[in-house]
Protein backbone atom coordinates (compact mmCIF):
# COMPACT_ATOMS: atom_id res chain seq x y z
CA UNK A 1 0.00 0.00 0.00
CA UNK A 2 2.83 2.37 0.88
CA UNK A 3 4.51 1.76 -2.45
CA UNK A 4 1.24 2.42 -4.28
CA UNK A 5 1.11 5.74 -2.45
CA UNK A 6 4.67 6.55 -3.49
CA UNK A 7 3.81 5.64 -7.08
CA UNK A 8 0.70 7.86 -7.14
CA UNK A 9 2.49 10.72 -5.40
CA UNK A 10 5.42 10.40 -7.80
CA UNK A 11 3.09 10.35 -10.81
CA UNK A 12 1.32 13.52 -9.61
CA UNK A 13 4.57 15.31 -8.72
CA UNK A 14 6.29 14.52 -12.02
CA UNK A 15 3.21 15.57 -13.99
CA UNK A 16 3.00 18.91 -12.15
CA UNK A 17 6.73 19.49 -12.75
CA UNK A 18 6.26 18.71 -16.46
CA UNK A 19 3.36 21.19 -16.67
CA UNK A 20 5.46 23.89 -14.96
CA UNK A 21 8.41 23.20 -17.29
CA UNK A 22 6.22 23.16 -20.38
CA UNK A 23 4.48 26.42 -19.42
CA UNK A 24 7.41 28.37 -17.98
CA UNK A 25 10.65 26.88 -19.35
CA UNK A 26 10.08 25.88 -22.97
CA UNK A 27 11.70 28.30 -25.38
CA UNK A 28 13.02 30.60 -22.63
CA UNK A 29 16.62 31.42 -21.75
CA UNK A 30 16.20 30.35 -18.13
CA UNK A 31 14.39 27.26 -16.86
CA UNK A 32 11.84 29.09 -14.71
CA UNK A 33 9.52 26.10 -14.59
CA UNK A 34 12.19 23.82 -13.11
CA UNK A 35 13.04 26.51 -10.55
CA UNK A 36 9.37 26.81 -9.60
CA UNK A 37 9.10 23.01 -9.26
CA UNK A 38 12.18 22.73 -7.04
CA UNK A 39 11.18 25.70 -4.86
CA UNK A 40 7.52 24.67 -4.54
CA UNK A 41 8.48 21.05 -3.87
CA UNK A 42 11.00 22.06 -1.21
CA UNK A 43 8.43 24.26 0.52
CA UNK A 44 5.84 21.49 0.33
CA UNK A 45 8.28 18.99 1.88
CA UNK A 46 8.92 21.41 4.74
CA UNK A 47 5.18 21.69 5.28
CA UNK A 48 4.74 17.91 5.16
CA UNK A 49 7.59 17.06 7.52
CA UNK A 50 6.45 19.68 10.04
CA UNK A 51 2.73 18.90 9.96
CA UNK A 52 2.09 15.34 8.80
CA UNK A 53 2.96 12.54 11.25
CA UNK A 54 5.17 9.69 9.98
CA UNK A 55 3.09 7.12 8.12
CA UNK A 56 1.63 6.31 4.71
CA UNK A 57 0.30 9.86 4.15
CA UNK A 58 3.71 11.41 4.88
CA UNK A 59 5.37 8.93 2.51
CA UNK A 60 2.79 9.61 -0.23
CA UNK A 61 3.27 13.38 0.06
CA UNK A 62 6.99 13.50 0.93
CA UNK A 63 8.77 10.67 -0.87
CA UNK A 64 6.16 10.49 -3.61
CA UNK A 65 4.79 13.92 -4.50
CA UNK A 66 7.54 16.28 -3.24
CA UNK A 67 10.30 13.87 -4.25
CA UNK A 68 9.12 13.68 -7.85
CA UNK A 69 7.95 17.30 -8.13
CA UNK A 70 11.57 18.29 -7.47
CA UNK A 71 14.46 17.00 -9.54
CA UNK A 72 18.22 16.95 -9.34
CA UNK A 73 18.99 15.28 -12.66
CA UNK A 74 17.38 18.02 -14.78
CA UNK A 75 19.10 20.59 -12.56
CA UNK A 76 22.52 18.98 -13.23
CA UNK A 77 21.89 18.58 -16.95
CA UNK A 78 20.66 22.19 -17.29
CA UNK A 79 23.88 23.35 -15.64
CA UNK A 80 25.91 21.37 -18.18
CA UNK A 81 23.81 22.75 -21.06
CA UNK A 82 24.39 26.36 -19.93
CA UNK A 83 28.11 25.61 -19.73
CA UNK A 84 28.15 23.92 -23.15
CA UNK A 85 26.42 26.98 -24.66
CA UNK A 86 29.22 29.14 -23.26
CA UNK A 87 26.88 30.71 -20.69
CA UNK A 88 29.10 29.91 -17.70
CA UNK A 89 27.78 32.85 -15.66
CA UNK A 90 24.23 31.60 -16.16
CA UNK A 91 25.32 28.11 -15.09
CA UNK A 92 26.58 29.61 -11.82
CA UNK A 93 23.41 31.66 -11.33
CA UNK A 94 21.29 28.58 -12.05
CA UNK A 95 23.18 26.53 -9.43
CA UNK A 96 23.04 29.18 -6.71
CA UNK A 97 19.45 30.37 -7.26
CA UNK A 98 18.03 26.84 -7.01
CA UNK A 99 19.92 26.18 -3.77
CA UNK A 100 19.14 29.55 -2.16
CA UNK A 101 15.48 29.46 -3.10
CA UNK A 102 15.18 25.76 -2.24
CA UNK A 103 16.61 26.23 1.27
CA UNK A 104 14.53 29.34 1.91
CA UNK A 105 11.39 27.63 0.65
CA UNK A 106 11.99 24.54 2.79
CA UNK A 107 12.50 26.69 5.90
CA UNK A 108 9.36 28.64 5.06
CA UNK A 109 7.40 25.41 4.72
CA UNK A 110 8.65 24.13 8.08
CA UNK A 111 7.82 27.36 9.90
CA UNK A 112 4.38 28.05 8.43
Amino acid sequence: MTMLGVFLGGALGATLRYLLETLFSAGRTFAWGMLAANALGSMALGLVLANVPPGPLQVFLGAGFCGALTTFSSYSVATVEFWREGRCGMAGVHIVVHLALGLAAFSLGVSV
Binding site: T22, L69, F72
Partner: protein, 136 residues
Protein backbone atom coordinates in the same frame (compact mmCIF):
# COMPACT_ATOMS: atom_id res chain seq x y z
CA UNK B 1 10.80 15.32 -41.17
CA UNK B 2 9.30 11.81 -40.92
CA UNK B 3 9.46 10.30 -37.47
CA UNK B 4 10.67 6.76 -36.77
CA UNK B 5 7.67 4.49 -36.77
CA UNK B 6 5.71 6.96 -38.82
CA UNK B 7 2.93 9.25 -37.71
CA UNK B 8 3.01 12.58 -35.95
CA UNK B 9 4.24 12.99 -32.41
CA UNK B 10 1.50 13.96 -29.94
CA UNK B 11 1.57 17.54 -28.67
CA UNK B 12 3.39 18.43 -25.45
CA UNK B 13 0.22 18.55 -23.35
CA UNK B 14 -1.62 15.60 -24.90
CA UNK B 15 -3.02 12.97 -22.50
CA UNK B 16 -0.61 10.36 -23.91
CA UNK B 17 2.44 12.47 -23.07
CA UNK B 18 1.09 13.41 -19.61
CA UNK B 19 0.40 9.72 -18.97
CA UNK B 20 3.95 8.79 -19.93
CA UNK B 21 5.33 11.44 -17.56
CA UNK B 22 3.09 10.18 -14.74
CA UNK B 23 4.05 6.55 -15.35
CA UNK B 24 7.77 7.33 -15.41
CA UNK B 25 7.49 9.62 -12.38
CA UNK B 26 5.66 6.99 -10.36
CA UNK B 27 8.22 4.31 -11.17
CA UNK B 28 11.13 6.67 -10.46
CA UNK B 29 9.70 7.63 -7.07
CA UNK B 30 9.09 3.97 -6.15
CA UNK B 31 12.68 3.05 -7.11
CA UNK B 32 14.05 5.94 -5.03
CA UNK B 33 11.89 5.09 -2.02
CA UNK B 34 12.75 1.36 -2.26
CA UNK B 35 16.46 2.21 -2.28
CA UNK B 36 16.16 4.49 0.78
CA UNK B 37 14.31 1.67 2.60
CA UNK B 38 16.86 -0.95 1.52
CA UNK B 39 19.72 1.08 2.96
CA UNK B 40 17.81 2.46 5.95
CA UNK B 41 19.63 4.97 8.12
CA UNK B 42 21.85 6.27 5.32
CA UNK B 43 19.34 8.39 3.44
CA UNK B 44 21.81 11.23 2.77
CA UNK B 45 24.27 8.87 1.07
CA UNK B 46 21.52 6.98 -0.77
CA UNK B 47 20.02 10.20 -2.15
CA UNK B 48 23.50 11.31 -3.22
CA UNK B 49 24.09 8.07 -5.15
CA UNK B 50 20.59 8.29 -6.68
CA UNK B 51 21.21 11.87 -7.81
CA UNK B 52 24.67 11.06 -9.24
CA UNK B 53 23.38 8.05 -11.20
CA UNK B 54 20.24 9.88 -12.36
CA UNK B 55 22.23 12.94 -13.44
CA UNK B 56 24.70 10.80 -15.37
CA UNK B 57 22.00 8.83 -17.18
CA UNK B 58 19.97 11.98 -17.96
CA UNK B 59 23.16 13.61 -19.28
CA UNK B 60 23.53 10.73 -21.71
CA UNK B 61 19.83 10.83 -22.56
CA UNK B 62 20.03 14.57 -23.28
CA UNK B 63 22.67 13.86 -25.92
CA UNK B 64 20.39 11.21 -27.46
CA UNK B 65 17.40 13.58 -27.35
CA UNK B 66 19.38 16.22 -29.23
CA UNK B 67 19.34 13.97 -32.30
CA UNK B 68 16.42 14.38 -34.70
CA UNK B 69 15.50 10.70 -34.71
CA UNK B 70 14.69 10.62 -30.97
CA UNK B 71 11.24 9.00 -30.51
CA UNK B 72 8.60 11.29 -28.95
CA UNK B 73 8.08 9.09 -25.89
CA UNK B 74 11.74 9.05 -24.84
CA UNK B 75 11.81 12.42 -23.03
CA UNK B 76 8.42 12.21 -21.25
CA UNK B 77 8.74 8.69 -19.88
CA UNK B 78 12.48 8.43 -19.20
CA UNK B 79 13.77 12.01 -18.98
CA UNK B 80 11.00 13.97 -17.26
CA UNK B 81 9.30 11.01 -15.61
CA UNK B 82 11.65 8.21 -14.58
CA UNK B 83 14.90 10.13 -14.07
CA UNK B 84 13.20 13.34 -12.94
CA UNK B 85 11.15 11.41 -10.39
CA UNK B 86 14.03 9.13 -9.36
CA UNK B 87 16.31 12.03 -8.48
CA UNK B 88 15.17 14.63 -5.97
CA UNK B 89 15.97 18.13 -4.83
CA UNK B 90 13.60 18.50 -1.88
CA UNK B 91 15.22 15.71 0.16
CA UNK B 92 18.59 17.39 -0.33
CA UNK B 93 17.15 20.61 1.07
CA UNK B 94 15.57 18.77 4.02
CA UNK B 95 18.75 16.83 4.87
CA UNK B 96 20.88 19.98 4.56
CA UNK B 97 18.54 21.95 6.82
CA UNK B 98 18.62 19.15 9.38
CA UNK B 99 22.44 19.01 9.33
CA UNK B 100 22.89 22.67 10.30
CA UNK B 101 24.78 25.42 8.45
CA UNK B 102 28.23 23.78 8.17
CA UNK B 103 27.11 20.20 7.61
CA UNK B 104 24.33 21.32 5.29
CA UNK B 105 26.70 23.39 3.18
CA UNK B 106 29.05 20.41 2.82
CA UNK B 107 26.17 18.11 1.82
CA UNK B 108 24.95 20.53 -0.84
CA UNK B 109 28.45 21.17 -2.16
CA UNK B 110 29.10 17.43 -2.49
CA UNK B 111 25.82 17.01 -4.42
CA UNK B 112 26.71 19.75 -6.90
CA UNK B 113 30.36 18.80 -7.45
CA UNK B 114 29.44 15.15 -8.10
CA UNK B 115 26.12 15.37 -9.97
CA UNK B 116 27.06 18.11 -12.46
CA UNK B 117 30.24 16.31 -13.62
CA UNK B 118 28.23 13.07 -13.78
CA UNK B 119 25.77 14.78 -16.15
CA UNK B 120 28.67 16.13 -18.24
CA UNK B 121 30.26 12.67 -18.35
CA UNK B 122 27.00 11.02 -19.42
CA UNK B 123 26.48 13.60 -22.13
CA UNK B 124 30.07 13.26 -23.33
CA UNK B 125 29.94 9.46 -23.52
CA UNK B 126 26.75 9.37 -25.60
CA UNK B 127 27.61 12.38 -27.76
CA UNK B 128 31.05 10.96 -28.54
CA UNK B 129 29.79 7.43 -29.20
CA UNK B 130 27.11 8.52 -31.66
CA UNK B 131 27.89 11.92 -33.15
CA UNK B 132 25.01 14.19 -34.12
CA UNK B 133 23.97 13.72 -37.74
CA UNK B 134 25.37 10.23 -38.14
CA UNK B 135 22.12 8.51 -37.23
CA UNK B 136 22.10 5.24 -35.37
Amino acid sequence: MPRPGGGRAPSALSPVVLGLVALGGGIGAVLRHALTLAVAGHSVAVILVINIVGSGVLGGLSARLARPDAPFWLRPVFGVGLLGGFTTFSSVMADAAAAGPAGGAVQILVQVVTCVPAAALGHGLVARGKPVGEGR
